[in-house]
């Protein structure tokens, strides 16, 4: 785990969220599902925010909205890039794609496994897309698989056939192989055994120290107790008929 992260030191927050609001229009039910309303916070380099709240409070929805898998209803999420400030709420799709390749990572509990792609290739892909030669990317991928406790016999196998826990390890290795500037963590420890959880927390500690900003939802927040700088509590909002 010796990938170096180089991030320019800037006093401005990495992310400034203002009035961010998300609701889902469910056309077939003629209903609106309110997820969260008017959220404000700032996140600086090397900071770690823990999102708290009951099931359905909108924690994962907030992460997905910041990653733009969900479109916000209103508000702003100003992200400071090396080229200036960009509002993640309204940025062009191609710009979001650029940021996802370069500096914003999302770690979920689920792996969207493509058929017929070996675990080591799945993990190596972000490096390859960033221009690393194939052989080099594979070496790095194997190191990460090993760090997260994926057995050597599985490296060349297809993850679509793996157990949930093994899939998640592949997913984590893939998500953390490239140093990011902002990491969105959606219950990354949910189905992991103790050793892999420990490996993950070690890596997150290392990333935090090197300046990576993180927002996360954790099933067992005690795992990351030593990392938390801020906590944001979300509350479920009721569904209203139209």
């Amino acid at each position: 785990m010796n990938i170096e992260v180089s991030i320019p030191k800037t006093p401005a927050p990495v992310l400034r969220v203002e009035g961010l609001t998300k609701q889902f229009e469910m056309h077939h039910l003629k209903r609106t599902l309110f997820a969260f309303d008017n959220i404000d916070f700032e996140l600086h380099e090397g900071e770690f925010i823990l999102l708290r709240g009951e099931n359905g409070a909108g924690k994962s929805t907030l992460l997905r909205t910041l990653y733009r898998s969900y479109l916000p209803r209103a508000g702003h999420a100003y992200y400071h890039t090396r080229e200036g400030v960009i509002d993640l709420a309204s940025a062009a799709d191609v710009d979001i794609a650029v940021l996802r390749r370069r500096e914003i990572g999302f770690v979920t509990q689920f792996l969207n496994a493509r058929p017929r792609v070996a675990a080591e290739e799945v993990v190596a892909e972000p490096l390859r897309l960033a221009g690393t030669p194939h052989a080099e990317a594979l070496v790095e991928a194997r190191r990460w698989l090993s760090a997260f406790g994926v057995k050597k016999q599985l490296w060349a196998a297809y993850p679509s056939t793996f157990s949930g826990g093994e899939q998640q390890k592949v997913n984590l290795a893939r998500a953390l192989i490239l140093p990011q500037r902002l990491l969105l963590l959606d219950e990354p420890t949910a189905s992991l055994d103790r050793d892999s959880r420990k490996a993950l927390v070690e890596r997150l500690t290392q990333l935090k120290a090197s300046g990576v900003a993180m927002i996360g939802v954790f099933h067992h927040p005690e795992d990351v107790a030593g990392l938390i700088d801020q906590e944001i509590a979300l509350k479920a909002i009721k569904i209203e008929d139209q």
């Binding site: 056309h27 733009r68 890039t81 709420a89 062009a92 799709d93 191609v94 710009d95 493509r114 017929r116």
Partner: protein, 275 residues
Amino acid sequence: MTALNLAAATQITRQPPHLMLAEPMLTMCGISKNFGGVKALSDVDATVYPGEVLGIVGESGSGKSTLLRMMNLEDTPEAGSYHLALPGRENSNLFSLDRFERRSLRAEHIGIVYQNPHLGLLMGHTSSGNVAERLLIAGKRNFAELRERARQSLDASEFPVERMDATPRELSGGMQQRVQLAKAIALEPAVLLLDEPTTGLDVSVQALVLDTLKRLQRDHAITMVLVSHDLGVIRTMADRVMVMRRGNVVEQGLADQIFQDPQHAYTQQLVHAKL
């Protein structure tokens, strides 16, 4: 269907690109086309950036294949412009070229794979011959070079090259699609157009063909436009998705957003029907 519109779902207007520094590889603006009294396309815009895969989904009659035919310069619209980022051609509306220019531009810079291999291949000629034909149009004449280039292209498409002298008629559906693909990429086209490339293939063969496309895309960063009514195929392949209905683009976005948080009533119906 029209109870709620897109404006109700989000109040946010998308900004123009700032971080994507490359110019679009393909730009279509204001494309309109009528067949008789039927509007096949009305005022459609499409932009594809270098190395991107744009997926176009929609039911039969939505206009998605008509739009792809326009991209392949097989047909021209009543209104609209079409630009490809080709050296020396940046400023020319490709629809205004005469049909000979269009044909040579298509042969050299646009590759296409049709659902029906009969549309893309000469079924009685050898597979290598089919690929070499594309190279001949581009002016290659040396037999040994033609054969070698055809072999390389078939190999890149994961076609078993020891069978390069078999005719498509003697090959399975999945192999025929690989020959079409080899032909389409032989000249390293600016854009690769895929019209339902895996429809009608067995699921296992479909996965193999998609895998080949994915590999080509990853290793060569080929710009692709993929038309399919199969949402699974689009989800596997596309970076961005355009949803079409009755000749209009009802919604477009990043592929994961279209599938996880569809905004338009029609897209929601489409996505829910799949899951």
